[in-house]
C-alpha cells in the first residue's frame, strides 16, 4: 500500500505546474471563503462598535429630552436614592452644544461632553493618538482626529468656542483616535470632551446624561421598564439589539457573498479541469498498477484521499491568501467607511476551519468524477494507449444549454418581487452560466466550420479553426474564457446597476439646500421663509431605529408634514399613495417601501412595531412607495406622531428649493440665521460626498470577479500547454509534410484569436441573457432598478481578453520553436 501511495504521489508531483495550478485554484476558493467569513465577523464587530460608541459598556443611559420646555437636568439624587443599589456605576455627564466659528462659512456645532476622565475611560475607553489627560481640569479639552484634521487642530492649540451664549478659550490637550465615542465622528457631527465641573459651571447644572451599568445584567429589561415609568420626563435607552446588528451586518456582507458564489463557480470549473488533466496524465501508472493486481476500489480510495490532502494544503494556503483579500476589502473601504477601515480584522479557528473544510469538500467533490472515469478505463485500453472517446454518439446537452439560457430571458418577468423571486433569479442566472458550458462546443463547431470553409483562408488558418473544434483542451479554453467573461461582466453590470441606481436616487432629489437649525421653532422658520431665494421648504425628522416585530431596522424613520416633503424628495408610486398621505396623521399610520414589502412579505394593514427611544409603538401600514433611499429601509410617519413618539421638537433637516443661485441663497441663509445654523449643505455637495462612496463600495465588491478572471487565465495557460503536449506529434507531422514554422505559428495564432473572439462573444451573449434576471434578483432588496450593462468594462475586457489570448499563444509557439521533429514523431 505504501509503495502504491508513493508511486501515485510521485506521479502527481512530477507534473509540478499542473499540481500547483490545482492547489492555487483551491487556495483562491478557500481564500474567498475565509475572507467572507472573517469579513462577516469583522463587520459585525464594526457594527457593534458603531452601535455602542455612544453607550460604551453601559447597559442603560438616561438623558434629558430635546424638547422645548423639557427638564434641563436630571434629578440624580432621586435616581440614586431609589435605584442606586442596582448599579455597578452611574456616571453623571453633561452634554451640550458648543459652537466653533472661525468664520461665517466655517461654522460648526460640536456635541460637548463634560465628564470625569476616569469615569469616562471606564465606560468608553479613550485611545489618544497625541497628548494626554493628566491635567484634566479647567478649560482643557480632547477632540477627535477627524475634526482635528478638518480644522487643523493640534495639541496645545487654543480654540474659541461659544457655549451658552458666551465665548470661552479651550486648550486642546489630547486628540483621540477614531475609536469609541469618536468612531464615526464625521457622521455624528463631532464631539469634544471637557472636564465635567467646567461645563456644569458654564451651564448651571449637575448632569443631563447618566450612564448606568447594572450589577445584574438580567435585571436590564425590568429596570428599563421601571425607570421609563418612574422618570417619564427623561429618555431611557438600551444598549444594542443583537438582531438589529445581524440585519445591518447582512447588508454589508451580502454583496460580497454573492460575489464569492460566482467566483467559486469559476474556481470549481477550473479545479475540475485541472483535475481532469492531472488524472489523465496518470493513466499509465494507474494502468500499470491495475495490471499487477491493484483493485479499482483501492486506487479510488487513495486518489480521493490524495485530493482531500490537496484540499487541506490549498485550504491552509487559502487562509494566508485570505488575509490579503481581507486587507484589500478594508483598504477599499478606507475612503468610504472610516470606521470599517479602522476596525481590527477578526478571525479565528472557526474561520480557518470553515475555509479548510470547504476546500476539502470542493476538491474532493470535483475530483471524484475524473477519478472514477480514470479507474473505469479498461486496462487493455490503457496498455494499448487506446484512450480515444467513442465516436459517433451525438451529444445533445447543448439543448439543455439553450433551454437554460432561454429560461433566464423569459422567466424573470413572471417571478414575484420578494425573497423567493430573488432566489429564483439567482437560480436562473446560475442556470444560464451552467447552460453556457455545453452550448459553447456546439456553437464553436458550427461557427468554426462555417468560417473555415471561406475560400480566401490559407490552409494553416483553416487548420487552426479546425483544431479548436476537434481538440478537447482548446474547447475547454473557450468554455473557461467565456464563463470567466460572463461572470466578471455580470457582476460588474449587477453592481453598476445598483450603484448607478443609488447615485441616481441621490440626484433625483429635488431640493437645493439641506439645513439643520439649532431650534426650528416658529421664529426661526419665519426668518427662513423671509430669506431671499427660499422658494419652498419642508422640514423632516429623521432617525435610525428598529422594527422590533420583524428583527430588522429602518435606516430612516422619517417624520413629515405632508406632500411638500415629496416635492423635494421624490419617490415612485406617489400617486398610488395620495390617500395614505392625506391620512398619515389620522392615526398611527406609516407608509413604507416596496423593498421592505418584498423583503418582509408586508401588506396594507400590517403592523410595524417601531422603537421610539425607550418606547415601542405599533404603526399600521397604509401605503408603499418606490424608493431605494436608505436601501429601501424607510418609513414615513406624520411629524406630529414623530414628535410625540421621540419626544423631540426641532426638525432634523429642512429641505429648501430655490430658483436662484444656490451658493448665493446659502450665504443669504447664513447671514440671516447666523448661529442658529448647525449644518448647511447643498445638494451638489451631498451628491459629491456620497456618490463617490457608493461607487467605491461597488468597485471593491465587483473586483472580486477579477479574481475569477485571474484564475481563469492561469487555467487557460495550463490548457494551452497541455494541448500543445497532446498535439506535439501532430505538429511534428505537419512540419514533416511541408508546413513551415511560420505556417505552424499562424495556425497557433489562429487558434488563440479564435478562442479569444469566441470566448468573448459567448461570454457577452451570456451576460446579455443573465442581465434579464438582474431586476428580479436585486429588486426585493434594492427596489426597482434599470439595468446598466457594464458596456465600457465589457469592451475593455473583450479587447484585453483577445490580446491576452494572443499573448498566451506565444507559450505554445515558443515551445514549437524547440520542437525536435525526429524525437516527436519516432514511436518508441
Amino acid at each position: 500500500m505504501e509503495v502504491i501511495v508513493k508511486a501515485l504521489l510521485k506521479s502527481l508531483f512530477e507534473k509540478k505546474t499542473r499540481t500547483l495550478l490545482v492547489i492555487f485554484s483551491i487556495a483562491v476558493s478557500a481564500a474567498l471563503i475565509f475572507a467572507n467569513e472573517s469579513f462577516s465577523k469583522t463587520v459585525r464587530q464594526k457594527v457593534y462598535d458603531a452601535d455602542v460608541r455612544w453607550g460604551g459598556n453601559s447597559d442603560l443611559y438616561i438623558s434629558t429630552r430635546d424638547v422645548v420646555g423639557a427638564e434641563e437636568w436630571i434629578d440624580t439624587d432621586r435616581l440614586l436614592s431609589e435605584y442606586g443599589g442596582a448599579f455597578e456605576y452611574a456616571f453623571q455627564f453633561v452634554k451640550e452644544k458648543a459652537l466653533y466659528m472661525p468664520s461665517l462659512e466655517q461654522m460648526h456645532y460640536f456635541l460637548m461632553i463634560g465628564a470625569d476622565i476616569e469615569e469616562f475611560n471606564h465606560y468608553n475607553p479613550l485611545t489618544l493618538s497625541e497628548g494626554s489627560y493628566q491635567d484634566w481640569e479647567g478649560f482643557n479639552i480632547i477632540v477627535g482626529r477627524a475634526y482635528a484634521n478638518e480644522y487643523d487642530f493640534k495639541v496645545g492649540d487654543v480654540v474659541n468656542l461659544e457655549l451658552n451664549n458666551a465665548e470661552y478659550d479651550f486648550k486642546i490637550v489630547g486628540i483621540s483616535e477614531p475609536k469609541g465615542l469618536f468612531l464615526r465622528e464625521l457622521a455624528d457631527g463631532g464631539y469634544i470632551l471637557a472636564p465635567k465641573e467646567t461645563l456644569s459651571e458654564i451651564f448651571g447644572g449637575n448632569s443631563n446624561l447618566v450612564f448606568l451599568k447594572l450589577k445584574d445584567f438580567s435585571q436590564r429589561e425590568s429596570l428599563y421598564v421601571r425607570l421609563t415609568r418612574d422618570f417619564p420626563e427623561y429618555q431611557v435607552k438600551y444598549g444594542v439589539n443583537d438582531e438589529v446588528i445581524d440585519a445591518e451586518t447582512q447588508n454589508y456582507v451580502m454583496p460580497f457573498r454573492i460575489s464569492t458564489l460566482t467566483v467559486l463557480f469559476m474556481c470549481l470549473f477550473i479545479i475540475n479541469t485541472a483535475f481532469t488533466l492531472v488524472t489523465l496524465e496518470r493513466i499509465p501508472i494507474v494502468g500499470t498498477l491495475r495490471s499487477i493486481g491493484c483493485s479499482r476500489r483501492k486506487i479510488n480510495v487513495i486518489l480521493v484521499l490524495e485530493s482531500a490532502c490537496l484540499g487541506i494544503v490549498g485550504g491552509l494556503l487559502g487562509c494566508v491568501l485570505g488575509l490579503g483579500v481581507l486587507q484589500f476589502i478594508k483598504y477599499s473601504y478606507t475612503n468610504v467607511d472610516e470606521a470599517l477601515a479602522n476596525t481590527t480584522v477578526v478571525f479565528g479557528v472557526q474561520e480557518v476551519g470553515m475555509a479548510v473544510g470547504a476546500a476539502v469538500i470542493i476538491t474532493t467533490l470535483t475530483a471524484i468524477l475524473p477519478i472514477l472515469r480514470l479507474t473505469k478505463t479498461p486496462i487493455k485500453n490503457i496498455i494499448l494507449n487506446d484512450l480515444s472517446v467513442k465516436q459517433g454518439r451525438k451529444n445533445f446537452w447543448w439543448i439543455a444549454g439553450v433551454v437554460l439560457l432561454t429560461a433566464c430571458v423569459f422567466v424573470p418577468p413572471f417571478l414575484p418581487n420578494n425573497f423567493m423571486g430573488m432566489v429564483g433569479g439567482g437560480i436562473l442566472v446560475t442556470g444560464a452560466l451552467i447552460g453556457l458550458i455545453p452550448l459553447v462546443p456546439f456553437l464553436t463547431r458550427h461557427i468554426s466550420k462555417w468560417v473555415g470553409e471561406m475560400p480566401f483562408l490559407s490552409q494553416d488558418i483553416a487548420l487552426g479553426l479546425r483544431n479548436i473544434r476537434d481538440n478537447r483542451s482548446l474547447m475547454n479554453n473557450i468554455q473557461l474564457f467565456s464563463v470567466a467573461i460572463a461572470i466578471v461582466a455580470f457582476m460588474v453590470s449587477l453592481f453598476n446597476t445598483m450603484g448607478t441606481d443609488l447615485v441616481q436616487a441621490f440626484k433625483k432629489d429635488n431640493y437645493d439646500i439641506r439645513l439643520t437649525l439649532r431650534h426650528s421653532d416658529e421664529e426661526s422658520l419665519a426668518k427662513l421663509s423671509q430669506v431671499e431665494g427660499v422658494d419652498l421648504y419642508a422640514g423632516s425628522y429623521q432617525s435610525h431605529t428598529a422594527i422590533l416585530n420583524h428583527q430588522t431596522f429602518l435606516n430612516v424613520l422619517c417624520g413629515i408634514d405632508g406632500e411638500d416633503f415629496f416635492a423635494l424628495n421624490p419617490v415612485g408610486d406617489l400617486d398610488l399613495n395620495r390617500e395614505a398621505l392625506a391620512t398619515l396623521d389620522a392615526g398611527r399610520n406609516v407608509i413604507t417601501t416596496n423593498v421592505l414589502k418584498g423583503k418582509l412579505g408586508l401588506k396594507l394593514g400590517d403592523t410595524l412595531l417601531i422603537q421610539f427611544g425607550s418606547k415601542q409603538i405599533p404603526y399600521t401600514i397604509t401605503g408603499f412607495v418606490e424608493t431605494n433611499w436608505g436601501i429601501g429601509h424607510v418609513g414615513y410617519i406624520s411629524s406630529n406622531n414623530y414628535r410625540e413618539g421621540m419626544g423631540v421638537s426641532d426638525y432634523d433637516f429642512i429641505y429648501i428649493k430655490t430658483g436662484q443661485d444656490v451658493e448665493k441663497v446659502r450665504n443669504n441663509i447664513l447671514r440671516t440665521l447666523n448661529k442658529d445654523v448647525m449644518d448647511i449643505v447643498t445638494h451638489e455637495e451631498w451628491i459629491t460626498a456620497n456618490a463617490d462612496k457608493v461607487i467605491a463600495i461597488f468597485n471593491a465588491i465587483s473586483s472580486y470577479g477579477y479574481f475569477a478572471l485571474l484564475v481563469g487565465i492561469i487555467g487557460i495557460i495550463n490548457n494551452l500547454v497541455v494541448s500543445f503536449i497532446e498535439r506535439q506529434r501532430n505538429f511534428a507531422m505537419v512540419r514533416c509534410i511541408g508546413m513551415s514554422k511560420k505556417g505552424l505559428n499562424r495556425m497557433l495564432i489562429t487558434e488563440s484569436i479564435a478562442m479569444g473572439v469566441l470566448g468573448v462573444g459567448f461570454g457577452v451573449m451570456c451576460v446579455l441573457v443573465m442581465s434579464s434576471a438582474i431586476p428580479v434578483t436585486v429588486g426585493p432588496m434594492w427596489g426597482r432598478v434599470t439595468v446598466q450593462l457594464a458596456v465600457t468594462e465589457m469592451s475593455v475586457m473583450a479587447a484585453v481578453g483577445i490580446i491576452a489570448m494572443l499573448a498566451i499563444s506565444y507559450v505554445p509557439i515558443l515551445r514549437s520553436e524547440k520542437l525536435s521533429l525526429i524525437e516527436t514523431i519516432k514511436y518508441e
Binding site: S388, Q391, S458, Q459, D460, A462, R466, N467, D470, N471, R729, N730, A732, M733, V734, R735, C736, I737, G738, M739, S740, K741, K742, G743, L821, I822, I825, K826, Y827
Partner: protein, 228 residues
C-alpha cells in the same frame, strides 16, 4: 544515371548529459534516380537517423547531403518546408496521420499547404486513393481504419505532390505479415510506375527483396553499400 541523393562524409552526434554519442560516422553513399533502396542494420546503428538527415528532418553534425541537386544543410526553414511538400515524401512506422482529418483531407494536406485549391487536386487524390485501395474509406477518420489502411493513406499523402523521393521508416513495422507484404508490393508498384526513388529503413530481410539494393549500417558506419 542521375544522382538523386549524394551523402558525403556525414557525421551525426548527440549530446547526452556529459557525453557525446556518435550516431553516424563518415557516411558516404549515393542513390540513383528511380532506385528502391533498403537500409538495414541492428538497433542503434543509425539507419533512421540517416534517413531523417536525408529527408531534411535533422541537420548533420558534419558533411554534406544533396537531394535532387539541393544541398540540404544550408536550407532555411521556408525552403526546407517547400522541399518536404514537393520533392520529398515521408512514410512512418506509426503512420502519423492527423486524427481529426478524414483520409481525403489527410491526403490533400500537403497540396493545400502548397497553396493549391482543393478542386485542382481532388482528382489526383482520388486517383491515388484508387491506386492504394482506400477510395471507399475517404470520409473516415484514421481512428476508424485498420493499420494497413492507415499506412496506405500515409503513402497516398506522401505522393500527392509527385515527390522525387519517398523516405519510408519501417513502414510495415506495426503491421501483420500479410498486410506488410501488401504495403511493400504497393511501394514496388509505385517505384516502377512513377520512377520515384524510394529509401526504406527496415529490420526485415524479407522486405529487402522488394528493393533493388541494400545499404547496411553498423555502429553508425556503412558496412556494405553494393551497387546494383
Amino acid at each position: 544515371m542521375d544522382k538523386m541523393i549524394e551523402v558525403h562524409n556525414v557525421y551525426k552526434s548527440f549530446q547526452l548529459a556529459d557525453s557525446t554519442v556518435e550516431v553516424l560516422k563518415n557516411v558516404d553513399l549515393e542513390v540513383e534516380k528511380g532506385e528502391f533502396i533498403s537500409i538495414m542494420g541492428p538497433s542503434g546503428s543509425g539507419k533512421s537517423t540517416l534517413l531523417y538527415l536525408m529527408g531534411g528532418l535533422d541537420k548533420a553534425s558534419a558533411g554534406t547531403i544533396c537531394v535532387n541537386g539541393v544541398e540540404m544543410q544550408s536550407l532555411d526553414d521556408e525552403t526546407e518546408s517547400r522541399m518536404r511538400r514537393n520533392d520529398i515524401g515521408f512514410v512512418f512506422q506509426a503512420y502519423n496521420l492527423i486524427d481529426n482529418l478524414t483520409l481525403e483531407e489527410n491526403i490533400l494536406l500537403p497540396a493545400l499547404l502548397e497553396g493549391k485549391k482543393k478542386k485542382d487536386v481532388i482528382k489526383k487524390a482520388e486517383e491515388l486513393m484508387e491506386t492504394v485501395g482506400i477510395l471507399g474509406r475517404r470520409n473516415h477518420t484514421p481512428k476508424e481504419l485498420s493499420g494497413g489502411e492507415q499506412q496506405r493513406t500515409a503513402i497516398a499523402r506522401a505522393l500527392i505532390n509527385d515527390p522525387a523521393v519517398l523516405f519510408a521508416d519501417e513502414p510495415i513495422g506495426n503491421l501483420d505479415s500479410k498486410t506488410g507484404k501488401e504495403i511493400l508490393e504497393l511501394l514496388r508498384k509505385i517505384n516502377k510506375a512513377k520512377d520515384i526513388t524510394i529509401l526504406m529503413v527496415t529490420h526485415s530481410e524479407e522486405s529487402t527483396q522488394y528493393g533493388k539494393r541494400i545499404i547496411r549500417l553498423k555502429d553508425g558506419e556503412v558496412v556494405v553499400a553494393p551497387q546494383t
